[in-house]
């Protein structure tokens, strides 16, 4: 009976597996193949060479990659720091009010990312909502904070907040209240409870939040384009340009592959490091 169930299950999942293979793995394979083809070719029937990777290094595309990774790391770290107190409140303190915060945060996802970012442009631009009114009322204005690396990181933090907040709240909710109280009872200060009990026991949530925000932020470009005004070029922007205006699929593929391999390695390493069952004592 069990064997028959297994066979039926495999059969039933077959269509979805085929769709996944075609829609996800095949394009990825194609990108991998194109990345090692000569530049500016549009057919996979070519002798492979690694000229696209050479171009990536020689023409400084790696700088975009480094900027993207730096901004993703900075934004994820900032997100972790600012989301922790809120996530803690949602998991341990707010009770029913946590639902209102959840709804409010989820609602922000209902509006397109670009529209929300343009909203910030209108708010922060010179002569915009803040500076415009301030100058109108006081006669004193200020330079727009737009178009620099800081505002791009701010944009990433703003857009990807839910992706850190919810895993973090989930992670914190898994910290047994008794363990926190016992640590305190044994003489731990609030800081020691945080570092020695909360953080290690909430590690699965922290890791998931960090991975999600880092992966999404490393591949983000709207923030760099809209808020940053291309003060720095994000790697995703370079990839898009290579595939579209540049008509250089192998270069776009090479850039994509580097990003995929880097982030994939990081994600696999992170997931492998976190053994949820072991941490929570279910092994």
């Amino acid at each position: 009976m069990k064997r028959l169930d297994g066979k039926l299950g495999t059969l039933a999942s077959l269509p979805m597996l085929v769709v996944l293979a075609l829609a996800f793995i095949a394009p990825l394979g194609l990108v991998a193949i194109f990345s090692i083809l000569p530049e500016k070719v549009f057919s996979i029937v070519n002798m492979p060479n690694f000229s696209a990777f050479k171009t990536m290094v020689n023409q400084g595309y790696y700088k975009s990659l480094l900027w993207s990774l730096f901004m993703a790391f900075a934004a994820s770290t900032i997100l972790f720091i600012i989301c922790w107190p809120l996530a803690y409140g949602m998991a341990k303190v707010f009770k029913r009010f946590a639902l209102i915060i959840t709804i409010a945060v989820v609602m922000s996802l209902f509006v397109s990312e670009n529209i929300r970012l343009f909203g910030w442009v209108l708010t922060l631009m010179k002569g915009g909502l803040i500076e415009g009114y301030l100058r109108h009322w006081t006669g004193v204005g200020f330079e727009s904070p737009l178009y620099n690396v800081g505002i791009i990181i701010f944009g990433i933090v703003y857009v990807y907040l839910p992706f850190m907040l919810f895993p973090l709240a989930q992670g914190i909710s898994m910290v047994p209240e008794d363990a926190r109280q016992a640590a305190r009872d044994l003489g731990a200060t609030r800081w020691q409870v945080l570092t020695q009990i909360d953080l290690p026991l909430a590690a699965p949530g922290i890791m998931v939040g960090y991975l999600l925000t880092f992966v999404l932020a490393a591949g983000a470009m709207a923030e760099a384009k809209i808020l940053g005004g291309r003060a720095v070029i994000a790697i995703a922007d370079d990839i898009q340009t290579a595939f579209t205006y540049g008509q250089n699929w192998p270069l776009g593929s090479a850039l994509s592959m580097v990003l995929i391999v880097l982030i994939g390695t990081l994600a696999i390493y992170g997931i492998a490091k976190i053994d949820l069952d072991k941490i929570m004592g279910r092994d």
């Binding site: 016992a182 009872d185 044994l186 003489g187 731990a188 941490i279 279910r282 092994d283």
Partner: protein, 367 residues
């Protein structure tokens, strides 16, 4: 009241909104004492312990540890420690790391910490090899010992226990009860133990406090609480008991079909019953005898044998009296009564084994 208490509670009151969990209680615990607070769920015993370790704040009152008032001191700065009901071991740490936790917080040298942890493992009959074992790989009894070792590593002035044995199976619980008592004797520390299990309290404690609805009903040693309860609640809480609402006039005790033989013993009781606003006569099942023909006792009552229940080494008999009250008689297996269900029996007991509970409304039920 102990002459030299280590811990004193003065008019401690705790409210949660409109609900009063503790009604201004007073308590004094002697240094080195094994003191147990027993009560049903919701009686306020866990609230007391949370106040004592600093997890909750008093509404009013004072808590003193020797000559120092501690109720204003945060939990992490109090020289007390608690073994939690859930044990609250840190699942991400090894046995050794758990035990060393309070020592690490005090920045004690790692080598000394390890030596102390191993010493404590041995004190609690765990092999030193457990030092590196994950706590999640330990059995229930082993976890208990690790939690105890961790608390002892803290070296508290008073060790509090919040029903730490409640989740264990019967055999393990029995063996750990004895180990705890033994540990208390070996360490000489003051133990304050919270439980809803009467058996645990009786086995381990020097003194027992019975709680009900945020108040202490009685504080005394196990013998006195068992044999001379101050209220029906305590009498019933301390195990099977037969209670009779009685009155007395002209030196004679009456009520519930009871026949009291005239004599010095019963007349002294009658005087107390007369003086009381309301009186209940209490007799524990093990003191009740099946009377043979012609045999007499200070107190007698007739009834029908309603049920016989074998409980291993003991046998319980249920006897229904003429007034419809069910009485319980307990005999050791070797002293069993050879009768069968439906028999008419005469029960009797001596005045010395009975006890008069005064001033307690008969209608009061155990909460």
């Amino acid at each position: 009241m102990p002459a030299n208490p280590i811990l004193r509670l003065k008019s401690v009151r705790k409210t949660f909104g409109h609900f009063t969990a503790l009604h201004g209680i007073d308590l004094a615990i002697e240094e080195g004492e094994f003191f147990t607070i027993v009560g049903p769920s919701g009686s306020g015993k866990s609230t007391i312990i949370r106040l004592l370790v600093g997890m909750d704040e008093l509404t009013s009152g004072e808590i003193w540890l020797r000559d120092k008032r501690i109720d204003q001191i945060p939990a992490n700065l109090r020289p007390t420690c608690m073994v939690f009901q859930s044990l609250a071991l840190f699942p991400h740490m090894s046995v050794g790391q758990n035990i060393e936790f309070p020592l690490k917080l005090r920045k004690i040298d790692p080598a000394k910490r390890k030596a102390r942890a191993i010493e404590l493992l041995q004190l609690l009959h765990l092999p030193a090899s457990y030092y590196d074992k994950r706590v999640t790989e330990c059995s229930g009894g082993e976890r208990q010992r690790v939690a105890l070792a961790r608390a002892l590593a803290f070296d508290p002035e008073i060790l509090f226990f919040d029903e730490p044995l409640s989740a264990l199976d019967y055999r393990l619980r029995k063996s750990l009860e004895k180990e705890l008592k033994d540990l208390h004797a070996r360490t000489g520390k003051t133990f304050v133990y919270i439980t809803h299990s009467l058996e645990e309290a009786l086995v381990m404690s020097d003194r027992i406090a019975i709680m009900k609805s945020g108040r202490f009903e009685q504080i005394s040693d196990a013998d006195e609480i068992y044999s001379k309860p101050v209220s029906r609640f305590v009498a019933e809480f301390m195990g099977e008991v037969n209670l009779f609402q009685v009155t007395a006039s002209d030196g004679r005790i009456e009520g519930a079909g009871l026949i009291a033989a005239p004599g010095d013993a019963t007349s002294t009781m009658a005087e107390r019953i007369t003086a009381a606003r309301d009186a209940t006569l209490m007799i524990r099942p093990e003191y009740v005898q099946f009377l043979a023909d012609g045999q007499v006792a200070d107190f007698e009552i007739s009834g029908t044998l309603n049920g016989i229940y074998a409980l291993g080494s003991r046998i319980h008999y249920e006897v229904k009296t003429g007034s419809g009250q069910i009485l319980t008689v307990e005999k050791l297996r070797e002293d069993r009564y050879d009768g069968s269900q439906g028999d008419t029996v005469r029960l009797g007991w001596s005045a010395a084994s009975a006890h008069v509970i005064e001033d307690t409304p008969f209608e009061e039920k155990v909460a």
